[in-house]
Amino acid sequence: MSDVILSAQSVGRTFGAFRALYGISVDFQRGKLTSIIGPNGAGKSTFFNLLSGAFPPSEGRIVFEGRDITGTPQHKFAALGIAKSFQITNVFPQLPVHENVRVALQALASRYQIWKPRSSLPELADKADALLETVGLTDRRLRAAGTMAHGEQRALEIAMALAANPRLLLLDEPTAGMSPEETKAMMDLILKLASERTVVLVEHKMKLVMGISDRLLVLHHGELLAEGTPDEIRHNDTVKRVYLGQREH
């Protein structure tokens, strides 16, 4: 199997007259944790949304495991083996935590079964419990998801993203709005997940991802400014100027 799991080939995106992203070409290595960083407005979220299929690129191609997935509708991504978490917390707020995960698991097992009861799929309930254990939400399983603390909801989102057992996990600012303790727990969780699958992470706070990433991509004004290991990025003069320089004030 090829080492490249996901490849963006001259991918660009415009919104009306505004050019959010200029032809970016990147290969994402299988089994690595790659972080996409950059200041506000650098095009990180646009790039993430193109990779995760929220909307198609205006130009270029996106190739997953050798297969062109440009323009594939969002709901087919889970079956391909790609899952994502959202930047804004995105759960089913009124449903119990356990049902959130169960319904995510059900997407790949049974979509249009209208006659049997839900309990006819007991293996889903068990798997949901296992996933809640992974993200540390076992004791919350019957709470309405929307009533949990912010950090717990983000963890639930990760559990839902894992439901499809994806080979590629895309995370959009998973620690946004979290307390330092929650951030620490989330980073530990991400490290644990990255040991088993490919993870691509979008993050605003560079310091957070320096320690855990295998590779870093730096975006700036919609262009790929630099790419390399954390060490290379740390010593890259251009990056220092546009990105690190900003953090001092």
Partner: protein, 316 residues
């Protein structure tokens, strides 16, 4: 306070409880015809609420599904000369077919646009029925949908007798309630909840949200079509107004009045609405003012609807 264990038990057996209620219901009503009307509109409202309450889609064209079912039942009996139960089956299929057609256009839109597209297409059907006088009787309605006796192995039911008629209609409503309850408890029911709760998340999970909506619309059409057929048999005529916009509005009101977020709410709403209409109109011809005022008061002070408010007081 009610024992929460008992409440949970009741929820579990809601269909059995509902059937028990259906059996004694006509004895509580001032006259039997109201009871039959409440059953029919209750079923219509439940079918409508499958889209409105369960999925959050406000259709303003459900009269097309209800009226389409009524006409289908009448036409199967009058023009094809087939028995009434074939008419019932035809009405369910017609309701689903009309829903599939309207849905094919409407399901791409959302919110007010969805309401407008469904409304416009339902109006098309209304004018079509109005013009096709040879088939539908036009303004005069489709007359002569007569059902007097029902032959069952061993005995004969007299459908003209009000109480017998009630129980025949109640039988079909009970079957529909059972089917609806199964659907909502099924894996597909779980998908409906997920789509209502968070569309983007449901899509990321791998659900084709548009397809889910479309299927729910078609299922809703089946229930509404059945309600229409029962009305045709009950009235022995299909008035053109069955397809009218006022009927679409009525079912929205009933759902809101009873509580769109609950299983039986729409049924309760239909009951309260029709009872108010009948009782107030005995006293004054301006009954709509009073029913309207009751509706406004309910929306303002009990946004969960009558049934939703009762359940909230008990359950939690």
């Amino acid at each position: 306070m009610l024992n929460p264990h008992l409440v949970a038990r009741c929820k579990q057996h809601r269909v059995i409880l509902a059937i028990a209620f259906l059996v004694i219901f006509p004895l509580l009503m001032p006259f039997k015809a109201i009871a039959v009307n409440i059953l029919i509109y209750g079923l219509f409202a439940l079918g409508f609420n499958m889209l409105f309450g369960t999925l959050g889609l406000l259709s303003f064209g459900h009269a097309a599904l209800f009226g389409g079912g009524a006409y289908a039942c009448g036409l199967v009996m009058l023009k094809l000369g087939l028995p009434w139960y074939v008419g019932i089956i035809g009405s369910v299929l017609a309701g689903m077919l009309i829903a599939a057609t309207i849905g094919a256009f409407a399901i791409r839109t959302r919110g007010i646009y969805f309401a407008m597209v469904t409304l416009a297409l339902a109006q098309c059907l209304y004018f079509l029925a109005d013009q096709a006088t040879d088939l539908t009787g036009g303004e005069n309605g489709l007359r002569g949908v007569d059902l007097n006796t029902i032959q069952l192995p061993g005995f004969t039911l007299n459908f003209v007798d009000p109480l017998t008629r009630y129980y025949v209609v109640a039988f079909f409503v009970a079957v529909a309630l059972f089917v609806l309850s199964r659907i909502l408890a099924s894996p597909f029911g779980a998908v409906l909840e997920a789509v209502r709760e968070n569309e983007a998340r449901a899509r990321a999970c791998g659900y084709n949200v548009r397809m889910v909506r479309y299927l729910a619309f078609i299922l809703s059409g089946g229930f509404c079509g059945l309600a229409g057929a029962l009305q045709a048999l009950h009235l022995s005529i299909v008035p053109l107004e069955t397809l009218a916009i006022s009927n679409s509005g009525l079912v929205v009101m009933m759902s809101l009045l009873g509580g769109m977020g609950t299983f039986f709410g729409p049924f309760v709403g239909a009951g309260v609405f029709l009872l108010l209409e009948n009782l107030v109109s005995l006293w004054t011809v301006h009954w709509q003012i009073f029913v309207g005022a009751a509706f406004v008061a309910c929306v303002l002070f009990f946004p969960r609807g009558i049934w939703g408010t009762i359940l909230m007081g008990r359950g939690r």
